[in-house]
Amino acid sequence: MKKAAFILVLCIGLLLAWAAKDFPSWGDPQSPASSSPVASHFIANTGVDTEVPNMVTAVLADYRGFDTMFETVVVFIAGLAVFSILRGGPKNRTRDREFVVDFEPDLIVTNTVRLIVPVIQIFALYVLAHGHVSPGGGFQGGVAMGASFILIALSWDLKTALARFPIERCFTVAALGIVIYAGIGLLSLFLGGEFLDYAHLAKIFPVSPEMARYHAMLGVEIGVGFTVTAIMFALYASLSTDGRMRDGL
């Protein structure tokens, strides 16, 4: 099995390396990927269409908004699947766990975490809201926000973190994020445009169509941030306790 795999991998590698010598050299501005009409269209028109300086955010949340919506749904389904599979197992199965956790929360660690968790959460909100003009956005801000709850669970114990963010509420918040995303898309559908065509939101909000796209992108990012925050924490809580939500790491 291992030998067959090695030979297979080696054959694929030789084929790929043979193909790799025909690629454009590194950093060539005239390479096909850089000189394609799609790239030049995005570079030239993002600022005009949407007023968003960060082209990546504009492409992710506006031009390819449908894609990002279902990416968020995939994150939600992944969290739900992990939770359901681990929760649904046999109740008293034997585990050969090698780590035993039975000590008090450490004073220095908990006090430091008390200091830095607000900073992390404010930074996460900054990353989420500032994703238009600097690197960042819903996914990164949501992960940072979820990491702050994971930090609470690591420094005290899982019960303390679950008291602040119960596991049932995790999935409510995650679903709420998708509802926000799809709701903005449906709103633009009802206003006469297509699904996720944010420019039509200018009909009910007192802004220009470009700024409507700008602000709708912010709303969409907030939806993504909700889902990712909740799912990251739910993933950690499920995986570290084997689905039982107690005796965690």
Binding site: N54, V56, T57, L60, R95, D96, R97, E98, F99, V127, P135, G136, G137, F139, Q140, V143, A144, G146, A147, I150, L154, M232, L235, Y236, L239, S240, T241, D242, L249
Partner: protein, 82 residues
């Protein structure tokens, strides 16, 4: 020239770290070495100008995925057979 040297160094380290994270038997060590891999990848992407990808890799790859991997190993046997 300086950036190309940096690029080459990180690319060579990447292969070493990728092999190492699959080589070691201890799964916690494997997860930590994989965090190093993610961090090197993040540096490479920041150097190439793909800042959003670099940010995602720094938060997801080097941050949360390491914690989740270790939380998973916590419920499994720590030593792998291969």
């Amino acid at each position: 020239m300086g950036l190309e040297l940096f690029n080459t160094l990180i690319l060579c380290l990447l292969v070493v770290v990728a092999v190492l994270s699959l080589w070691v038997r201890d799964l916690v060590v494997s997860a930590v070495v994989f965090a190093i891999y993610s961090f090197l990848m993040c540096l490479l992407w920041a150097e190439m100008g793909a800042v959003d990808v670099a940010f995602t890799e720094a938060t997801v790859g080097a941050g949360v995925s390491t914690v989740v991997l270790i939380a998973t190993v916590f419920n499994l046997k720590r030593k792998a057979k291969d």
